[in-house]
Symmetry: D2
Subunit: 278 residues, 4 copies
Amino acid sequence: MPPAHVLLIDCPDQTGLIHRITGVLSRHALNILKNDEFVDAETRYFFMRTEFEGDIDAAALRTELLAELPKSVNLHLNPRKRKDIVVLATKEHHCLGDLLLRYAYDELDATILAVVSNHNTLQPLVAKFGIPFHYVSHEHRDRPEHEAAIHKALAIYNPEYLVLAKYMRILTPDFIRQYPDRIINIHHSFLPAFIGANPYKQAFERGVKIIGATAHFVNADLDEGPIIDQNVIAVNHRYTAEDMAKAGKDVEKIVLAKALKTVFQDRVFIHGNKTVIF
Amino acid sequence: MPPAHVLLIDCPDQTGLIHRITGVLSRHALNILKNDEFVDAETRYFFMRTEFEGDIDAAALRTELLAELPKSVNLHLNPRKRKDIVVLATKEHHCLGDLLLRYAYDELDATILAVVSNHNTLQPLVAKFGIPFHYVSHEHRDRPEHEAAIHKALAIYNPEYLVLAKYMRILTPDFIRQYPDRIINIHHSFLPAFIGANPYKQAFERGVKIIGATAHFVNADLDEGPIIDQNVIAVNHRYTAEDMAKAGKDVEKIVLAKALKTVFQDRVFIHGNKTVIF
Amino acid sequence: MPPAHVLLIDCPDQTGLIHRITGVLSRHALNILKNDEFVDAETRYFFMRTEFEGDIDAAALRTELLAELPKSVNLHLNPRKRKDIVVLATKEHHCLGDLLLRYAYDELDATILAVVSNHNTLQPLVAKFGIPFHYVSHEHRDRPEHEAAIHKALAIYNPEYLVLAKYMRILTPDFIRQYPDRIINIHHSFLPAFIGANPYKQAFERGVKIIGATAHFVNADLDEGPIIDQNVIAVNHRYTAEDMAKAGKDVEKIVLAKALKTVFQDRVFIHGNKTVIF
Amino acid sequence: MPPAHVLLIDCPDQTGLIHRITGVLSRHALNILKNDEFVDAETRYFFMRTEFEGDIDAAALRTELLAELPKSVNLHLNPRKRKDIVVLATKEHHCLGDLLLRYAYDELDATILAVVSNHNTLQPLVAKFGIPFHYVSHEHRDRPEHEAAIHKALAIYNPEYLVLAKYMRILTPDFIRQYPDRIINIHHSFLPAFIGANPYKQAFERGVKIIGATAHFVNADLDEGPIIDQNVIAVNHRYTAEDMAKAGKDVEKIVLAKALKTVFQDRVFIHGNKTVIF
């Protein structure tokens, strides 16, 4: 059973915020089930996420809450529970396949509207799950043309989030700007180690004893966006770069799925280049 | 810089508790720095821990808070920050040594008043740190006599917590009852696997691929008290039972230290046979 | 590129075994790529796994090797690389789905000949991958009858291994005896903690801070067979038993897949109730 | 009981190496207890570590082995089991304290001959363990002068290894060159992430969800030497840079101790910028 209602608030900190916010909920006779707050000690920014139950007059609640809060607040009452997403992929199947399976069994908290790829390799996999597949080749197109073609494919679906499930093309700042805080990528390294191409090869050459994966929001700087989740596994001298890549796939798919879950359950705030996750 | 004030509350859940509690703090013009709440879905019990800053009239604050809360509440305002503890050990040095080092550099959030042991093996180690050492042998004493002798040694110090840092004697329910929720043990297995004696030997014989350690409060049932923290490490067929015991020592000492830190920082509630940790 | 040849030997230890074995390979001008040995200190049993390259006369090689080894040796030269398996499942899709995806992309080192289930829930999933699905209901059948029906379904395929991918029925010793060392199960706990039914509920009630999964060979004693792999994740007081079960699914599927990989790559020896894994 | 004998060999790979090496051992009627080999697929370099028991004529054994091996071999027969080390530290006590405790209980496989520091902060700690402490201040000295003074302090002891236990001064290539492959450092990050100063501050600012520590040999390039061991812990938005530094201390000390153990037990080969660890 999902929480009856979710309230997300972030704003500059003030004395008495929790009391004022919970006061509004209390006046509406709403019962708080879970409450998380955090104040960033550096920026003095306040974050709060509340799950509560009861019958609500959403408009009134929102108005009363805003009256108690600073003007520069971000307030989200009951963001749409089921997100609409489009997945971008290239040739590797492990992250996409994992998401398709979760979606097929309603464990993704999201609807995969379509899959877009610059190769047609994964078309048969996507077809098994009855989801539209758009093959948008990058061949014979320069980057702006290719991204324009992707945009066109995406425009049909109007997704809330783009999920880059091992999409191996670099997106331009222009493209990214059109999906602010709405693109989530899985990077196949423990960022900020091994930024850029071929992280497993880099890891192999550096002789590391642990490799990892990082799910993050995408912003204009490559691999520099707010990190949502990371995990690692141990490797040793017996691993070739290829062995590392193989072993890393399971970490990638689990980290991506876990990150998506927290985002889609409205448990993630973006704060500058960081995330606050409840 | 430690938090100015800490407030701990647990009671049966009611609608509006957070609002009422934060209202009292608000009326006193106190600024909340951190706030954690949890409601146990099964028992409908409410737990809250608040760190706040500002000048307080503790008596008034307490009175006003109690007026807003159910009668059966547990309320702790500013529990003593620095706990007084006595450590019980036997022959193994790794947990005790680690605690002594942390204490020597003021990283324990506690004062080690004394060490009590049923062997004198560790006396030289304790002496290095200038802490009283009580050798209370169990030889030629039955269990009640031995425990009476320990009690006598402890009575000098009146410790808030007893820390069993690889104390290898089983304590009787009678003894435990005198320190309710105040005895913390490190068990050298991933409980509830391998309860009782020789867990590494049990782990070796079972052929497990992971071993662990568990820090828990001690209650009358052996190894059954509320778990505070656990951690694990990978092992393989090359490990003898002795190798596992050696490798496990580092896990034991880190898990114990981490558990003590959360308890001594007043971040742990005991709820039946479980802990709620903020 | 898979190793050209694999040699597996286990026998009572003797002085000079490695020299004698590698001598045979040397006389055949074969080049060793990887070599692992282990001698169990308790049982004085010797295990060796060698990957080597070169043209072989398998019959001659085998004869010459046996001439150098104790009579009670187990020797496997080039076990069939691609195993034939049948997967047994019940209603949960996560382990089965993960295996089907890996199989579809040839990452399983095995051929899934069929899926057998006591429910028809997973039939549509299996159908997506074009694999035979046998619905063998346990209703209106006693256990021997049900197992006889499963046997009949399996007989068509003659699988080397049965993989219990969350198959929630207990198999009888009679059934197990027919697949000695050939049934692999994923148990949804960190064995030997929480043997038997409902381990997540048991874990929740015990208030553990870590949960796990265990892949093991199945023998006549429930959940007591040789462990192949285990892994864990952290949980806390916020997790209900249901949350633990959900979070545990990812551990289960990864542990099972990793265990199968080591078995199917002929890297696992069974030694009594333990495994030796190279 | 330590292994009776240890043999370490690395050389360019050839067909039949294991057979020839074990042949020599066999002719001497020596019984192999453990054997590890690895061939680097890129460099075609062969590494072998053997533990064996029996009475040996070391000179004869060495001569016969060398006769079977390529000229460019490195062969070590029974390296001195107990290493002589000097620890360099600055102000932080956690790694040094941990090493002193292990040394006091003979769990370090090494003798700490002395501690050298550029501050006198840790003198009282070292005094507790009765080990010489050399305070070699860097004040009023340029780097070459300071390193010359350290050299002078070290010269008394002629250590096999220098252990940098949170020594916070950068060593010059000239200094490092005098201890080739003999300086081991603990870096307080998951290298190669956060090379250089203040890694926890860097980690905090990047908003990572995992932090780590890396033990490595020191070569002329800062933080670029062969990695011996790494480990990580999870962090979240609640951690300040200072919290990360505190939490990281336990990882640092355990990773350093574990790395030293493998090196001091002669289980580590250095191969270019990587390690091969058996």
